[in-house]
Symmetry: C2
Subunit: 267 residues, 2 copies
């Protein structure tokens, strides 16, 4: 067992009550990584079929507080899958061109094409997270976005995109340790920015913004998955399994062959 | 030793005289794959540094006749690298939107961003290959494209993109065997299209178009590498090594840390 925590659409979510160190079953780091290798192997084969089939796609959305491990999850879970069928898009601070359009414009362009596994490293959810916490647009603007996001995700789903949204859930203490580790280890210092400390001061505001996003956008077609992430190996195990489960559910097939190929001799 | 075949800019190239079964040294399939695993491991580490550095990028351009193994090369050489730092773009028949622009428009948009390894599965060279062979635009139009390609590649190089162009060189007999194998093995038939046979009839025209593209666009800043590709394992070995050599030459560094981080304690 290594499943994410999910809620029925419409349920209230209390992040304080969800343990970021939770582990299902008696996994340990070593057994977890053996299992991940096995999951990756099976996902690799299914990703190849998805690519050959060229009809549907997967979109894995990764969100989480700073240091929650979005990059590490991608590195562990996706390394070993043929990059030809992966499209990984990091969403950073929007450019001025992007800001000259509605908030979903850049996101829509980044949707994985048929046959591919897309990963959003951050996503349109930033537009109801950092934007809300810092009041980057007026409340009457961001408050409409939950509905717009649900409609947008419904459109994608209807077009053959299987959306899997993951919130990498860490504790405030774990973030403290990870930031301190970046400072204490010279080879990790390049990852640290003083801005990280200012954001950390807004921890409670972010948790509240996450709670609302998780509740408002936890739809039947695109549910949220909460991943206990204080233990990196368990986080990786859960997401690895979730990707495999998703691919197995899609059950892609090799395409039909053209008719009349039986007797052809190539000259 | 497992190097591609290269020529000085301006040299005439006779593809007939380059053996697609050529193997440098005494490699065999098994030792080649052991070596590829080792190369991949080293490339993975350098790709991570390239990504962290976020200043330069690599663009691997893959061209070759049908069945030459572009997809197989990507699968073998790139699987094992973190997909977060890979951008793989297949160039198919241009869309009507793409045809409403100059031939380099769609290519320019697909250039890998800083820190990434980009792979073009086919490329702007199709615009002097299939386009030339089928006269899809008048000669006075395609004949200017060699120069335009060289200028375009110079622009990219100047902007920090290291361009590595590979021609996967197979023999006509090898193509025959691979097409027949797709027909004979039911699980491979979905890869076969009757159109492949029509294209095969134009083998000599394509070889001539390749010769001209290889000669005209074999520049100092973006030279062509001819990869003997009748043996799949050797083709994979050579490209795997070429990618590693390219990353080692770039020699990416982790970025500098911010100043004044020494005494920070995270609260």
């Amino acid at each position: 067992m290594c499943h994410p925590i999910t809620f029925k659409p419409g349920t209230k979510i209390d992040l304080q009550k969800i343990d970021p160190r939770k582990v299902d079953g008696d996994w340990e780091k070593e057994t977890a990584y053996e299992q991940i290798a096995e999951y990756t192997k099976r996902s690799r084969e299914l990703a190849y079929k998805l690519y050959a089939e060229n009809k549907r796609s997967v979109l894995l959305v990764l969100q989480g507080m700073d240091t929650a491990g979005k990059d590490g999850t991608i590195r562990t879970v996706l390394t070993g899958i043929n990059p030809q069928s992966c499209q990984i898009v990091p969403f950073k601070q929007p450019s001025s061109l992007e800001l000259d359009h509605d908030f979903l414009w850049r996101v829509h362009m980044a949707v994985p094409r048929r046959g591919n596994i897309g990963i959003f490293n951050r996503s349109h959810y930033e537009d109801v997270l950092v934007v809300r916490v810092h009041n980057l647009v007026p409340k009457n603007e961001w408050s409409t976005r939950y509905h717009r996001i649900n409609e947008f995700e419904d459109l994608l789903t209807d077009g053959g995109v299987k959306i899997v949204k993951c919130f990498l859930h860490i504790s405030k203490e774990e973030q403290r340790e990870r930031l301190q580790a970046r400072l204490d280890k010279p080879h990790k210092r390049w990852k640290f920015s003083k801005g990280d400390l200012a954001e950390r001061k807004l921890w409670d505001d972010y948790q509240e913004a996450y709670r609302v996003a998780l509740e408002e956008c936890n739809t039947k077609h695109a549910p949220w998955h909460i991943i206990p992430s204080d233990r990196k190996w368990y986080r990786n195990l859960v997401v690895s399994r979730l990707l495999l489960d998703t691919l197995e559910e899609i059950d892609p097939k090799f395409p039909e062959e053209e008719e009349g190929l039986e007797d052809i001799i190539v000259e």
